[in-house]
């Protein structure tokens, strides 16, 4: 399968609202400011690259977007809701609408790959018996059909990244956030991953990719209309014209 097109979930969205909005957001830790005055809107179906040097705060900004961190100033709205007002259960439900590909992938090493990819379904109470076909199609889409029973430590870097992407999209989220998805893979694999992310965007998903790999951004130029955001000196800038 390819990830299912957004369906009923969209109706929960406030009409016309951006999927994720950051308004004058700042984040400080241990008395020091890591990010400040960040304002950006991710509209439905948009494609964004977030770039900047290592340590500039790309991962922090992504975490603010998917609720792993809460802004210390300003407001982050997800699907029209102020993220600070979400209780823990609501936050869990919100995360089911955002698929995240972490830089280090983060799998449960004791479970085979299929169960790791199906984890979002498992935790949301889906009956996996009815999802076998979808799961099989999804594994084929990311080219991991033959690795279904492998344990995560047995996978290569590229396989881990594709598996993480499959896990991120299995719930057919509205947004896919990827943190350096091509950081540990070769050029060919990075192109394959980019292709998958572009396909997701064509299905209507909002995509946000943090990367310091400018060649990836250039390669995306011919495939998708993307905005490039750059973090510099703890502030967010639009990096030139749209690609």
């Amino acid at each position: 399968m390819k990830p299912r097109a957004p369906s009923g979930k969209k109706s929960r969205k406030r009409q016309g609202a951006d999927v994720i909005e950051l308004e004058n957001v700042g984040y400080s830790y241990g008395g020091g400011e890591l990010l400040g005055e960040i304002s950006v809107e991710l509209s439905p179906g948009s494609f964004h690259f977030l770039t900047g040097p290592s340590g500039s705060g790309k991962t922090t900004l992504l975490k603010l977007c998917y609720g792993a961190l809460l802004a210390t100033s300003g407001q982050v709205r997800a699907f029209g809701e102020d993220m600070r007002r979400l209780d823990r259960d609501q936050m869990a439900l919100f995360r089911r609408r955002i698929g995240v590909v972490h830089q280090d992938c983060r799998f449960l090493d004791h479970l085979p790959l299929t169960e790791n990819i199906a984890l979002p379904l498992t935790v949301s109470g889906h009956d996996l018996a009815g999802e076998h076909e979808n799961l099989r199609e999804l594994m084929a889409w990311v080219g991991l059909s033959k690795r279904a029973e492998a344990l995560p430590p047995e996978l290569s870097g590229g396989e881990r990244q594709r598996a993480a992407l499959a896990r991120a999209v299995i719930m057919s989220p509205d947004v896919v956030v990827a943190d350096e998805p091509t950081g540990n893979v070769d050029w060919e694999m990075s192109q394959r991953l980019l292709q998958l992310l572009v396909e997701l965007n064509r299905m209507g998903k909002t995509v946000l990719i943090a990367t310091h790999d400018l060649s990836l951004i250039r390669a995306a130029k011919s495939q998708v209309q993307a905005r490039v955001l750059r973090i510099s000196n703890k502030r967010l800038q639009l990096a030139g014209a749209d690609l």
Partner: protein, 299 residues
């Protein structure tokens, strides 16, 4: 916590239980602690019930019995004994009064002086056994009357040594109950430690689960079920072993005195079966609180 939450936490969920990796030493620790504590709890319960029975028996038996001792010159013993019996028979609250025979008195002294005691040559006082009725007789009034009419009579209603014995048995019962509470508390503390260790060891798993949209209840449930089940199994084994140990204790006997008869009686044998259930409840609460506290530390 609502009934629905408790049911959701306890309901078997194979998928959810698989996401938490098997944990080695915490599993063994929980099983061992629950088993050992349940084993001790069985003995504490047996001691509590036995000392309670003892206190009740001593209190009721001794409350019913009294002894009248006639200390008189040899030629007056018979007359004073008859006079005392006459008074006792007339006294309200005295159900029965009977002078002990020479043989009965000799039997009482045999443990100290041997069977060949020449009782006739010794100035042994005459004993009269009094069995109280309901309502009880007025001991103080009886003493005054005996003092006036039977100068050699001394009434001993056993109160002097009865009350400390009953107090001691009741204290033992309280001590056993406190021990059971301490055992419960220690079990909760140990299971909390084990649960915290398991939660800390699985912090990355928990983080991943949170990030893919798992609710706190789902994550906590996986740990709660595991520890509750372990505590239940461990406590069940401990109780079975404890009950086996109690069964091997000697039966109650006069010769054994207090040291025998420590086991359960009749329906009392069912009481230890509650221990695994209580152990599971303690484990459930301890793990739930540990998991909630830990999860709140995460975003």
């Amino acid at each position: 916590m609502s009934k629905g939450t408790i049911r959701a936490l306890l309901m078997a969920d194979k998928q959810a239980d698989r996401v938490v990796p098997p944990s080695g030493f915490t599993a063994q620790l929980t099983l061992f602690v629950s088993g050992a504590m349940a084993f001790l709890a069985v003995f504490a319960l047996a001691l509590s019930l036995a000392s309670g029975r003892l206190a009740d028996r001593w209190a009721s038996e001794l409350a019913q019995a009294a002894t009248l001792r006639i200390n008189a010159p040899a030629d007056q013993v018979a007359a004073q004994t008859q006079a005392a019996l006459a008074i006792l028979i007339q006294t309200p609250g005295v159900a029965e009064a009977r002078a002990l025979s020479r043989e009965e008195q000799a039997a009482l002294l045999t443990p100290w002086f041997g069977p060949d005691l020449p009782l006739d040559t010794l100035p042994v006082p005459q004993l009269i056994e009094i069995v109280g009725g309901t309502p009880a007789y007025d001991a103080q009034g009886l003493r005054l009357r005996l003092a006036a009419e039977v100068p050699g009579a001394v009434l001993d209603d056993h109160r002097r040594w009865r009350e400390p014995l009953v107090d001691a048995a009741n204290s033992l019962r309280r001590l056993a109950l406190v021990s059971i509470l301490l055992i419960g508390g220690a079990t909760a503390a140990m299971i909390t430690l084990a649960a915290n260790a398991a939660l800390a060891a699985n912090s990355q798993v928990i983080e991943v689960l949170r990030l893919v949209g798992a609710r706190d209840r789902y994550i906590a449930g996986a740990f709660v079920r595991r520890f509750t089940l372990r505590a239940l199994i461990g406590a069940a084994v401990g109780v079975l072993l404890g009950m086996g140990g109690v069964m091997l204790l000697p039966e109650a006997s006069d010769e054994g005195g207090f040291l025998t008869g420590l086991g359960f009686r009749g329906i009392g044998w069912l009481l230890p079966l509650l221990i695994p259930v209580l152990g599971a409840v303690v484990a459930f609460a301890a793990t739930w609180h540990a998991a909630r506290r830990r999860l709140k530390e995460l975003a």
